[in-house]
Amino acid sequence: MSRESMEYDVVIIGGGPSGLSTAIKLKQLDPNLNVCLLEKASEIGAHILSGNVFETRALDELLPNWRELNSPIKTKVTKEKFLFLGKTKSLSWPTWLLPTVQQNHKNYIISLANLCRWLAEQAEALGVEIFPGFPASEILYNEDGSVKGVATQDMGIDKEGNKKDSFEPGIELLGKVTVFAEGCRGHLGKQLIEKFELNKGKDPQQYGIGFKEIWEIEDKNHEEGLVMHTAGWPLDNNTYGGSFMYHAENKQVFLGYVIGLDYKNPHLSPYDEFQRFKTHPAIKKIIEGGKRISYGARALIEGGLQSLPRMFMPGALLVGCDAGTLNMPKIKGSHTAMKSGMIAAETVNEHFKENKDLSVYEDKFKNSWLHKELYEARNVKPSFSWGLILGIIFTGIDQILFRGKLPFTLKHKHADHETLKPADQSPKIDYPKYDNIITFDKTSSVYLTGTNHVDNQPVHLKLKDPNLPINYTLKKFDEPAQRYCPAGVYEVQKENDINKFVINSQNCIHCKTCDIKEPSQNITWITPEGGGGPKYGNM
């Protein structure tokens, strides 16, 4: 059965900051361009998760009058703290001793989901056609191998792959240029990077998993505008990670934890590290008496410039964290994602008007402040492969004394799926029981995400070898999917003394961690039926 097709000048995949900025900039440059944007979530913002302390630099360029447009950017950062945590003690690090990239006094505490909802309104007002609930599931190619567009997922397929009564075939969306803006580990971006060898000569990409909870806390503990970060406990010296706590409006705090997915101990559970972190006296005293109102998790990119793939290919561009433009020492990716989208839009416009090749994207990128920022940031993350203490000392020298201008570039040596040590050579970790006041189990956490996938649809987490989890991964690594998944999707269940690997795909919150960390790369994340996944409100 042939699918219907629709033609556009530009098709954008993903309604995050990079995709929406691409769309807005395109329509600003030429209002006559036909631009459409696909989003897999049921509405814009529903799959977005971020800290977020927002630097307005890119937005100042994109929509200079954003202050007059009722934007959801309201809470200015008023105070900063950085704490090193020991098991019970904490040491406050003077903020004047922080590298300038980690100073936030000009920035705002925002919800990125709400910023995206607002950006989508701006884009729609400019005539961009936005289609939430339509995941792009397949890349379409021309005969010459260039990207022709994408196809959306068929709707109404049952578990066995049969068409239900409600079956609705996917649509082909054809663009003169297709812009991929799926965010970290986009499942189409991943295919493009492989097909066009976009990562040739680059270091392996590095990832982290980020957790976020929103708490409504007691008045006396709330300090609107306060930004606090911590390093140290509960992670050991060899595991990269840290926390954030941002005091937003309405007595809310955005509390989160990021752990590098290059961790080595398969017994480590990122989720439980986050839960345990909240029991530290310095944290507990702030949230105690409050109420957790949201939970979510998402993988993020940490590789920086060394791991950034080439972002152009015939017929298509990669923007934002579908490529990996996050600035790790700044702990910010929104303004960089937006800027990459804006440069992509300029490129596309010149491609149409002046017949310039899409490779102009690279030159434009290299001449932008985005490249300068990422260049100066490049050595921070790899230095932490020497451990927290050496990493901090090196970062101090690199960022404070040399401002990122050291004459060498450190390399990322391993992909994250290669770093796990065998389970029997790694210490087991005893995580404390959840108290249901400060710490919670995964089930009640996932409940807060509003996650749902229409039942009776094919499992969207594909195993290349269905026997590998039990026959190999369980024996060697104690099947770490049980622990790295922040939503309890993967379980090993014993049935009549036989181990069975269970995938509760309806719980999936689309974080992509399994696709990244599975030691044999045996799990592939593909798009489920449109609208499925979490329904984040103010993340």
Binding site: G156, I171, G450
Partner: protein, 249 residues
């Protein structure tokens, strides 16, 4: 035959409802909203009847704030021909909605009015019944099957004892159960086409309906938290606990 279908915008059924801290209501800021699920069944049934050649026009109507129009737009994307949005801000009770629908029925003169059996936000289950009384039309509530027969409807109803099949004269009100059908997806081309279909906007005041609430809401609070359970070692302990602690046997 012309069918008027009423749709309501409610908090999406997957979202965990959160009560505002001051007990004044439910938090709705940036919460995902959707069409009330049984209203989707009502639209689907109307579209099916039209596809079977038994109806000529489907008009989707919603009553509510600016953004409620999204639900009409969605109805247009799955097969309604045109829309009506009666704009009202603030709390709306079923009686006010029924009176507004009555005025619109007077003007539009549909043969059938479909809607969901109840809305998942306030669970009132009143609007269809009240409209039936106001119009003095027959009603079939909790419909799980509808057959159109000349100037009559044969409707199967989901009732406590099982299924009840009744026959009613047209014009009539039917409130729809989730079992009635499986709503279709809005396809991308149809969403595009729906953007061009007309939606008439009417101010509630122009209809001369007093929408002021008749009820005063005192407080909204969460149900008490369930206490954690315990594990017992054996049946004897279970019986002992049921007897002495729970005092239920």
């Amino acid at each position: 035959m012309k069918i008027l279908v009423a749709v309501k915008r409610v908090i999406d059924y997957n979202v965990q409802i959160r009560v505002k801290e001051d007990g004044s209501g439910i938090a709705t800021d940036n919460v995902k909203m959707s069409t009330n699920p049984p209203d989707d069944n009502a639209i689907e049934e109307a579209v099916k009847i039209k596809e079977a050649g038994k109806a000529t026009e489907i008009v989707a109507i919603t009553v509510g704030e600016e953004k409620a129009q999204e639900t009409v737009r969605k109805a247009l994307a799955v097969g309604a021909d045109r829309g009506i949005h009666v704009k009202v801000d603030g709390i709306l009770e079923p009686l006010a909605v029924s009176k507004i629908l009555q005025k619109v029925v007077d003007k539009e003169k549909p043969d059938l009015v479909f809607m969901g059996k109840q809305a998942i936000d306030d669970d009132c289950n009143q609007t269809g019944q009240m409209l039936s009384a106001l119009l003095n039309w027959p009603q079939a509530t909790f419909a799980s099957k509808i057959e159109v027969k000349d100037n009559k409807l044969e409707v199967t109803r989901e009732i406590d004892e099982g299924l009840e099949t009744i026959e009613i004269n047209v014009p009539a009100i039917v409130t729809c159960d989730l079992r009635l059908n499986e709503p279709r997806y809005a396809s991308l081309p149809n969403i595009m086409k729906a953007k061009k279909k007309p939606i008439e906007e009417i101010a509630a005041s122009d209809l001369g309906v007093d929408v002021a609430p008749r009820l005063e809401q005192l407080k909204v609070e969460e149900p008490p938290k369930r206490k954690a359970g315990i594990k017992v070692a054996n049946v004897a302990e279970l019986v002992q606990k049921l007897k002495n602690e729970a005092k239920v046997i």
